[in-house]
Amino acid sequence: NIAERKREGQEYYLRLVELDEDTTDPAVWGKNFPREYDGYVRTAENTNRRHGGSEAISKLDEDPRLRRIFAGYPFSVDYRERRGHAFMLEDQDRTERVRQFKQPGACLHCHASIIPAYRRAGDGDVMRGFEAVCAMPLEQARKLVEHPVACLDCHDPRTMQLRVTRPGFLNGIRQLARSDDPLPHLPSIESWRTGPRDRDYDPNRMATRQELRSFVCGQCHVEYYFQPDNKMVTYPWQRGLKVEQIEAYYDEIEFTDYQHGETAAPILKAQHPEFETWSQGIHARSGVACADCHMPYKREGAIKVSDHQVRSPLLTIARSCQTCHRYPEAEISARAEAIQARTAALMDRAENALIELFDTIKAARVQGAADDRLAAAQRLQRRAQWRVDFVNAENSLGFHAPQESARILGEAIDYARQGQLSVLRADPRRSAE
């Protein structure tokens, strides 16, 4: 409805430079949109609430149990706290997970402004290029990109509308739409499901603006795996977004990330399932988008812009929370921290249970336990560790979905302990019960 847009729509900016699909350099976009660009570059500032300095903190030193949990996998060598968007390419280049291990081009899917590179590699066809680049060795693919996530990744250069560009997300959300997992927080998918379904669900055509304010983040802040054969980045959403639905999918395709270094159990690695966890929370259900909290509006003189210094909302409580929650800042952070403290307490219990499971299995091995005696325990370790890691890798420490995160950890504890029991029960020295 043009008339309406006209009334609101006068875009108050000077089009100093022309932008197109190949303008990867944010500095160029910044000429037209200095305010947003200014926030964007500030993602290089230190934003860690818990530590000073701008170096990436090693999670392994902070919680040595993680070295044992990831034993046999690159994460046991180097695993750090995330930093701002400005660092995403540099931090990937520098991690020992890349230096000491061979990695595929797939890694770049979420660490660079890569769509133009895909298009070139696929002679105009982004999807084909995506597949080609994923399969390359990382060093080779790395030469095709130069910028971290940039304007182009979330905006249409002509209209500035929000859009999603990541092939992994486009494939994943299409699969999710076809699943029967109820998605009350994604109305456009619910309504697509009631339609003829002759055409696939397409977020860029069908999603509401409010949904896009989360989808742009869901492009990367999600659990993923690489298809064993061609290393294609894949989001495991075929059955739904819940922890057990993703697990069921992996079990079905018999996928495993690695054999555990201490127990030889077939382990699944969870990576930053923020989008999946947020989906189970009350904020998502209330239509609150990632950008509402992580890119709050900011008044700059006579106008209001989205804060492009994406960071922890607890650093911007007045703008991120107080428009909706009319309590003092101290009270609001106390609430968030109370939620995180409960999650941390359960997490601690769950990790201890996991470590004790490793010890029980190893001890049995020392006493010459046959592999078949440990098979049940290894399966249970896979279940338990998948859940502990799912909450641990999710970066809000339970805030995005407090009760759901606690439920997952409760299950993790149960499976880990059951694993220990199955080992002890199978001890030949005890007459079978």
């Binding site: 008339a3 875009e11 509308q161 603006r209 428009t323």
Partner: protein, 160 residues
């Protein structure tokens, strides 16, 4: 759009005012009309709205809320273009009066989608300068951000 269709119907100003009164009178019945001061729908005075006790909560809330000093009921709840304004008043006058007299409406009272749109346009009417940028980039077919999603307290204070 209401304005344009009002024009297409060739409604004149006096015609519109008649329509308003008509709407209200039909809705309330003579007695109610006089009693609840049906002319309220033509006035800009908030007290006009509170002639109906069921508007009391919103009135009290409005007096405490941030806009008390700068905006009255009609500033937010009726369109700012002349024709649309009276057209809406006629519509609401009829609707509210009927419901009021028949006492059949959902409580707590909830704004109707079409009035929610009117409301949002009112926000933008006063704050266009400020929000122009954030509205400017939405896709044509997409409803741009709903102000009340974040600012639900501006009219009547927090609901929770």
């Amino acid at each position: 759009m209401r304005v344009s269709c009002a024009i297409r119907l060739g409604v004149t100003l006096p015609g519109l005012i008649l329509a308003v009164l008509g709407g209200v009178v039909i809705g309330m019945g003579g007695y109610t009309f006089r009693y609840a001061e049906g002319f309220s729908y033509l006035s800009n005075n908030p007290r006009a709205c509170v002639n109906c006790h069921v508007m009391r909560d919103q009135y009290d809330g409005w007096q405490k809320a941030s806009h008390h000093a700068v905006a009255t009921c009609n500033d937010c709840h009726t369109p700012h273009s002349f024709f649309a304004k009276y057209w809406t008043k006629a519509d609401n006058g009829f609707w509210h009066s009927t419901r009021f007299t028949l006492q059949d409406y959902h409580e707590p009272i909830r704004i109707r989608p079409k009035n929610a749109r009117v409301l949002r346009e009112s926000c933008v009417h006063c704050h266009r300068e400020l929000v122009g940028d954030i509205l400017g980039h939405g896709a044509p077919q997409r409803a741009a951000s709903d102000c009340v999603h974040c600012h639900s307290a501006v009219g009547h204070g927090p609901s929770r």
